[in-house]
């Protein structure tokens, strides 16, 4: 128990002192994961909705793959992105390896399937509920997608959050493609892994507590925004 109280004190100390190193890695963590969530949502919300609404050959296979990819191992994603971005890989000329951009790419690959699969289910359920209604109001399938995405927006926020949770918490992929370079690609999770490997369990645990707090702050901010919006629209 002593470890925990020590770590808690350490965490409080780091926060209250506005520790420069801490602010740097917290900022980068948020930048990388939020950008990844933003890009993944742009791809996955329409993709998930389209998979729910349009019938086409091989849809079952796509859905099965998507559901499988929800559980992609971060290390494998990291390796694949590494091989693609490596100087010896197909996109090596871009020189993106060991940059925040590489970390964003890896996280997009990790979370896009999660957001898409959850969105497909959300839209599917909503469509079952109000398909007749929308048809009666004269909606065509093209406008149906937009309407359903808008109508389910509150549930979709949760889907997007499932993606954010995965992105901010994973370490395997960003460690491989980012390299955990101090002042350049070090984020919360890779810093925690590093401190653990240095045997500084106390600092590692303190950073872990701060990471969870951070998730809590982001989640509550969005949840209250959602609540406020809900009040305005209904």
């Amino acid at each position: 128990m002593n470890d925990f109280s020590q770590a808690f004190l350490k965490a409080a100390q780091l926060i209250l002192q506005f520790d420069e190193g801490l602010i740097e890695i917290v900022t980068l963590s948020l930048q990388v994961s939020m950008t990844a969530v933003f890009i993944a949502s742009m791809i996955s919300l329409p993709l998930g909705a389209a998979l729910a609404l349009y019938k086409f050959h091989g849809r079952g296979l796509v859905v099965a793959l998507l559901n499988t990819f929800m559980g992609l191992p971060p290390v494998v994603v990291g390796l694949v992105v590494y091989l693609i971005l490596s100087r010896s890989g197909p996109l090596g000329a871009l020189g993106l390896l060991f940059t925040p951009t590489a970390m964003i790419i890896a996280q997009v690959c990790l979370i896009a399937p999660i957001i898409a699969a959850l969105t497909r289910q959300t839209i599917l359920d909503a469509n079952d509920e109000c398909h007749e209604q929308l048809r009666a109001l004269g909606a065509r399938s093209s406008s149906m997608m937009g309407t359903l995405l808008w109508e389910t927006r509150y549930s979709l926020v949760t889907n997007v959050f499932a993606g954010f949770g995965r992105a901010i918490a994973e370490v395997g992929a960003v460690l491989i493609v980012g390299g955990n370079i101090n002042h350049s690609t070090r984020v919360m999770t890779t810093a925690i892994a590093l401190e653990t490997s240095k045997g500084d369990i106390e600092l590692a645990l303190a950073l872990g507590m701060i990471l969870i707090m951070l998730s809590l702050i982001v989640t509550s901010a969005v949840m209250s925004a959602r609540h406020a919006a809900y009040k305005i629209y209904s």
């Binding site: 950008t35 933003f38 100087r87 925040p100 951009t101 101090n182 653990t196 490997s197 369990i201």
Partner: protein
């Protein structure tokens, strides 16, 4: 409120996509072993080089095996590693040029403070390892193709014991970095071979004692190798060479010598001065 959120996200996206302005005009990428990075040596050394040249050095810390692979793929400008045979192989395969020995320290064997077979009393590494083998006491190996792992396998080879057949029995391969492996050895009350700098800078060692040291086979030489620019034309060869030259210069060597942790020197410079 909602637009605020959208705006905040948009700002975040822009901030990430525009390259952050760096203080230095340029940077080079050094792939190094975890020991040199975790001990704080590079954090001490690099700012001094940057002040002198304006070139920043970005460090990716991995095991020697992976460091060599990253160099081979052209993902680093230079590598700082510690396994001579692999280094010479790397150069003869045309992946690297200009290998230069920079500094050394040594390996030590740590283990449970009660030291059941009393390797403390031994003078030869081979004898100490043989005792551990004879009593089938837990020994934790890196098992990750790092310089330390290769060294450890070489030492076992000298004893004539084929440890791979005991893997999972009393010989445990963690497949992890030095720090993670020390954490495991601590938890298992096992013997472990570690480089001295990681040992001294490691904080979670209250269940481990330094039991065996000071034997010539435990010498640990670090060298820097530049990635072959003929294989990878994008390599920042000139800047990397500048760094290697500086490390091997009397100034760089002095900086290495003056780096201490809790009053103890961790690395001993031994470059041939040019």
């Amino acid at each position: 409120m909602k637009y605020c959120l959208v705006k905040a996200i948009a700002v975040m996206v822009c901030m990430t996509l525009t390259p952050a302005p760096t203080l230095a005009n340029s940077f080079i990428t050094l792939v190094s072993t975890t020991s040199t990075e975790n001990s704080g040596l590079l954090d001490y050394l690099i700012p001094k080089f940057r002040d002198r040249t304006g070139i920043d050095v970005r460090v990716v810390a991995v095991g020697t095996g992976r460091a060599l692979k990253l160099g081979e793929m052209g993902d680093a400008d230079m590598i700082l590693v510690h396994h001579r045979a692999s280094e010479e192989n790397f150069i003869s395969n045309g992946f690297g040029v200009e290998r230069r020995e920079i500094m050394y320290n040594d390996f030590v064997i740590a283990g449970p403070p009660e030291d059941p077979v009393n390797i403390r009393g031994e003078h030869e590494t081979i004898r100490a390892l043989t005792l551990i083998y004879e009593h089938k006491l837990p020994f934790v190996s890196r098992g990750d193709d790092s310089g330390t792992h290769k060294k450890e396998r070489e030492l076992w080879a000298l004893t004539g014991v084929d440890v791979s057949q005991y893997s999972g029995n009393w010989y445990y391969e963690t497949g992890a970095g030095m720090g993670a492996t020390l954490n495991i050895a601590n938890g298992m009350r096992a013997y472990v071979l570690t480089d001295r700098s990681t040992w001294l800078s490691f904080k979670n060692r209250n269940g481990l004692d330094l039991l065996f040291e000071n034997d010539p086979p435990l010498h640990n030489q670090y060298s820097i190798i530049l990635v072959n620019p003929e294989r990878h034309p994008h390599i920042k060869f000139e800047e990397a060479e500048l760094f290697a030259n500086w490390l091997a210069s009397s100034e760089g060597q002095q900086v290495i010598a003056e780096f201490t942790l809790n009053g103890q020197q961790l690395f001993f410079p031994n470059a041939q001065l040019q």
